[in-house]
Symmetry: C2
Subunit: 332 residues, 2 copies
């Protein structure tokens, strides 16, 4: 099945590039509100399910035991930019469990934030695992392992208790039976899940329906943390942070590598999952903005704030307007 | 028309992302050797035609008048990484015409090279137009304007004599009639040209057939400059530089923004033009490597050197093999 065109990139009014993909929006009863493209095909959700991967952190009692703040819980759900307060927050999470950055197994990369990368290059010359955009998720796994009283050394391996818990959570929320995982960029497992099941998982995460009381409470706490501290879920100038700053608890959005985006609109009980076939993040952001504009009742100031994400103008190095992104009628 | 799948991105053996596009390979007589996807659709070639845009620099007599070296002519054809010797070379080109970086109208951006960007941030805190990957092309336009004896101030505008010459060259080589241009990332015009015509342009550039003696000689000189100084066409660790370091004058390859790649295999007289529909550079590089492997007779050491570009392994931040790129049977 060929997925439809979802986003067009225009230059001077002419089509220059185009992105295909699939979109699933599911209501609290699990019914499809919107299904565009092949929503039954399993996709690797990558970082787009970090908020779900953080459920064992709360359910294990680690969040209480280590008195994790909203900022720290948001970091456990984050693909952060490696800015100073992100790194400090992850360091604090680890310290609460008696650990430091040496326990992280996510690998090192330069901060996603260019300003943070430049500052780090000037100061230290090289990044550490703390700067990895996934370090908050890994710190969450480590806190969970410590709270569970298990050896934390292999916390990233599929056979470790923490990852087995994550797998069980993903099966419970998505309703999908998961096969053997592939390896994510930060070395933890990533399980392929059909897009419609990912949307279902976020609908449950948004509403708690069909979940145990404990799991539903954990979801409420994580959603509240992301809404209270959206800067810790991404970072300065990032799409996800700005959307959650506009909408607060009304919209949870989470990016993943290779063109993944998931989200939830809790007041509607909707879960959302987007896969851009070619892996383009720019297309996902325009699609998520279009879905919010389509489904969420918007006040005038919210619509105004959202508008620059809907059909963004492309500018060149001199600031000249050279084109635009446009979401196609497939999503209208 | 839906272009075929050309490159698949695998994770753990499963399809994660996929790139569609079109490929045209044209022989010296202008006949299509290979046509995959919609090769009649006009595309913006962006930087993939910089070597062709440099023809007026040579034909105007500027290259002789200013005694431009191979390195400097390669910079005129380049999307360079903003490394020190790139910036020094562009500065030298401008000085030969009595100008400096203040004449450039390409806009400023941080060097594409991360190491160069970090070093610049430490040293100066901000990039200039000299660091723009297009600064060599712009210096070439400025040298041409000075050699033509025209005011250089508006050298980037479509109505300027230099850009009118560029347009005439592109029409002559491609055989296409060009409509009004769009604006490129560096503010010069970019004209939409059907992919098969871009391939034809590179076949003429590779062989001189159908060109005036003066234009054919200019093409020989620019091709020789790129083959002699491929580092100046891109930069350290870049695909184009490494390919031309392997093959010398046997393969000219030039990247462009939004999934464009052009090239020539002069011993076969073939011109090549590739457009990845979604704008992905990673797909173009795998496709170009596959086309070279398919058409160019390879010595064992050349085949060995090319192999890592053909089906590159994807590694994560810990160096674990997590997947691969794979060119599809559409190009086999």
């Amino acid at each position: 099945m060929t997925d439809p065109l979802l986003v067009e990139v225009l230059r001077g009014g002419m089509l220059e590039s185009r992105h295909r993909g699939a979109v699933a929006v599911v209501d609290p009863e699990g019914a499809k509100v919107l299904a565009v493209g092949d929503v039954a095909r399993p996709v690797f959700p990558r970082s787009a399910v970090k908020p779900l991967q953080a459920l064992p952190l709360v359910e294990s009692g680690a969040a209480d035991r280590y008195a994790l703040s909203d900022e720290e819980l948001a970091l456990a759900c984050a693909s952060h930019s490696g800015e100073t307060a992100h790194v400090e927050g992850v360091t604090r999470m680890l310290a609460k469990a008696g650990l430091d950055g040496s326990a992280l197994r996510c690998g090192a990369h330069w901060p996603l934030s260019q300003a943070a990368a430049f500052a780090l290059a000037q100061r230290a010359g090289a990044p550490s695992a703390l700067h990895n955009n996934c370090s908050g998720k890994h710190a969450g796994f480590l806190c969970a392992a410590c709270a569970m009283g298990v050896d934390h050394a292999d916390y990233w391996r599929p056979a470790h208790k923490v990852q087995r818990e994550v797998r069980a959570v993903l099966e419970n929320l998505s309703g999908a039976v998961l096969a053997d995982p592939a390896i994510d960029g930060c070395s933890v497992p990533t399980w392929a899940i059909p897009l419609e099941n990912l949307a279902r998982a976020y609908a449950k995460f948004a509403t708690g329906r069909g979940l145990s009381r404990q799991r539903a409470d954990a979801a409420v706490r994580l959603r509240a943390a992301c809404a209270a501290a959206p800067w810790y879920v991404a970072g300065s100038g990032r799409f996800g942070t700005e959307i959650m700053q506009i909408f607060g608890a009304r919209a949870l959005v989470k990016t993943g590598a290779e063109g993944m985006f998931c989200g939830a609109l809790p007041e509607l009980g909707f879960g959302i999952a987007v896969k851009c076939d070619d892996g383009a993040g720019r297309a996902c952001e325009a699609i998520m903005a279009a879905l919010i504009a389509r489904f969420l009742p918007l006040a005038d100031h919210e619509r105004a704030a959202l508008s620059r994400f809907l059909n963004p103008t492309l500018r060149n190095w001199n600031g000249l307007s050279v084109g635009a992104l446009r979401v196609t009628e497939a999503l209208a």
